[in-house]
Amino acid sequence: MRWLETLAVASVTSLAMGCASSATTPPEMSQTKSTVRAAEEVGAQNVPRAALHLKMARDQVATAEQLIADNEGEMAYWVLQRAEADAELAMALAREVSYRQEAMEAAQRIERLKQETD
C-alpha cells in the first residue's frame, strides 16, 4: 500500500511538473535480488526443494522487471513480494539441510566414541 501511495505522489508530482510518469525501480527490487543472492550463497540450488523455490524467486524477479518496464508498478511490487518470500524460504530450506547434517555428524561422533571404547 505504501508503494501505491508513493506512486500516487510521484504521479501527481510528475503531472504537476507536466511530465509523463516514468517507471522507477522500487527499492524492493534490490532487496529481493540481494535475498536471492543470499539463498544462492548458502547453496539453495543444491537442495531440491530449495532449488525449486529459488527458481520461482528468480522467475518472479524477471517478471517484476518486465512489469516495471511495462509501467505496471503496482503489480511489480506484489510480484517482488512473492519473489522475496520464495527466496527466504529457499534459504531456510538450504540451511535446514546443513544444520541437519551437522547434527547427524555430532550423533555419529558419539557412536564412534562408544564403539571405540567397548
Partner: protein
C-alpha cells in the same frame, strides 16, 4: 484461535455489506485457502514451541492477506499476500526443523564431551588401579625375593653343614678303615705269631689256658740253666708273639725224674727264670711274666723211656684264660675237670 476469530471477523464484515469492496466476492482465492491451511499446519506443529516468533510472523502475514481479501476479494493483492503468508508458514516449519537440529547437535556435543570425560576418568581410575596392583605385586615380589634369599642362606649353611658332616664321615671311615687294617694287621701278626709259636713248639689249649711247650733240649744244655744260642732265636719269636698280647704269662720249668727232687726243683726254677729274663730282655713287660719251677712234679710222659724223659724235660709258657688273646679265646667252660 485468535486467527480464526480474525478470519471470521473479516468474513463477517465482507459479507455484511461489502461496503469496503466494490465487486465483493467472499470466496477466498486458492492462494488464501492454501495459506490458511499451511498456517494451521504450522500453528499445530512443533514450530509453535520451537520458533514461536516465526509462527507469529506467519500469522501476521496471513492477517494481511485476510485484510486484503476483505478489502478486495480475489485481487492480485490478496493472492500475493496469501502467497507470501503461505511461504511464511512453510518457512516457520522449516525454521522449527533447524531449531530442533541445532538443539540436538548441542545435546549430542554435550554428551560427547561428557562421554569423553567419563572415559578419561575411567582410564585414569584403571591406571591408578593398575598402579596399585603393580605396587602390590612388587611388594610381594620383594617379600618373595627376601624369603628366597633367606632360604638360600639357610641352604648354604646346610650345605656347608652337610659338607662338614660328610668330611667327618669320611674321616671316621678312614679312621675305621685304619683301625680295621690295624686290627687286621695285628690279627695277621698274631696269627703269624701263633703260627710261628706252633712251629716253635707245641701249642695247646688246656683248661688253664694256652700252653706253649718248648723242649728243654732245644733251649738248654744238659743240666744247665743258661740258654743255648739257638734258643735265643726261638725265644725272640716267642717274645714277639707274647708282645702282641696282654695278660699274664707264667713260665713253668719242668724236669724228668732223674736226680734229686730238690735239685730238679732248683734247676727247673732257674731255667724258668732264664727264659723269663730273656723274654724280658726282648721287651716283654716284666710285670706280666712269672717264672715258676715245677721240678719233676708234672710229667707229661713216662720217665721210663728216654723219649719220655726227653719230653718231660721242658719249659711251658702258659697264657692263662682271661688274658686277652684275640681269635684264640677258649670256648671251653671254665670249670676244672
Amino acid at each position: 484461535m485468535r486467527m480464526m476469530r480474525t478470519t471470521a471477523k473479516w468474513i463477517a464484515v465482507a459479507a455484511a455489506g461489502g461496503a469496503l469492496s466494490a465487486c465483493a466476492s467472499s470466496a477466498p482465492s486458492e492462494q488464501l485457502v492454501e495459506a490458511r491451511r499451511t498456517y494451521d499446519l504450522a500453528r499445530t506443529s512443533k514450530a509453535a514451541q520451537l520458533v514461536p516468533a516465526e509462527v507469529l510472523e506467519a500469522q501476521q502475514a496471513l492477517e494481511r492477506a485476510e485484510a486484503a481479501h476483505a478489502e478486495d476479494a480475489n485481487s492480485f493483492e490478496e493472492r500475493s499476500t496469501a502467497y507470501v503468508a503461505q511461504r511464511k508458514a512453510q518457512e516457520a516449519m522449516v525454521q522449527a526443523e533447524i531449531a530442533e537440529a541445532r538443539l540436538n547437535q548441542e545435546r549430542w556435543e554435550r554428551q560427547y564431551t561428557e562421554l569423553q570425560d567419563e572415559l578419561r576418568r575411567r582410564a585414569r581410575s584403571e591406571l591408578e588401579q593398575t598402579r596399585m596392583n603393580l605396587r602390590d605385586i612388587e611388594n610381594q615380589l620383594g617379600a618373595v625375593r627376601q624369603e628366597l634369599s633367606d632360604r638360600s642362606d639357610t641352604l648354604g649353611e646346610r650345605a656347608q653343614e652337610l659338607q662338614r658332616l660328610e668330611q667327618e664321615l669320611e674321616a671316621r671311615k678312614a679312621e675305621l678303615e685304619q683301625q680295621r687294617e690295624a686290627r687286621q694287621q695285628a690279627e695277621q701278626k698274631y696269627q703269624a705269631a701263633m703260627q710261628s709259636l706252633q712251629e716253635l713248639g707245641t701249642l695247646k689249649e688246656e683248661q688253664r689256658g694256652l700252653v706253649l711247650t718248648l723242649t728243654g733240649a732245644v733251649l738248654f744244655r744238659t743240666a744247665q740253666a743258661d740258654l743255648l744260642p739257638i734258643a735265643e732265636q726261638k725265644l725272640n719269636r716267642v717274645a714277639e708273639a707274647l708282645k702282641m698280647q696282654e695278660g699274664t704269662i707264667v713260665i713253668e720249668g719242668h724236669t724228668d725224674s732223674r736226680g734229686a727232687d730238690e735239685m730238679n726243683q732248683r734247676l727247673s726254677q732257674e731255667r724258668a727264670e732264664s727264659v723269663r729274663q730273656y723274654l724280658i730282655s726282648q721287651g716283654v713287660d716284666p710285670d706280666r711274666v712269672r717264672a715258676v719251677g715245677r721240678g719233676e712234679q708234672q710229667p707229661i710222659a713216662t720217665n721210663d723211656t728216654a723219649e719220655g724223659r726227653a719230653m718231660n724235660r721242658r719249659v711251658e709258657i702258659v697264657i692263662p684264660n682271661g688274658g686277652s688273646t684275640p681269635a684264640l679265646e677258649p670256648n671251653a667252660p671254665s670249670s676244672m675237670p
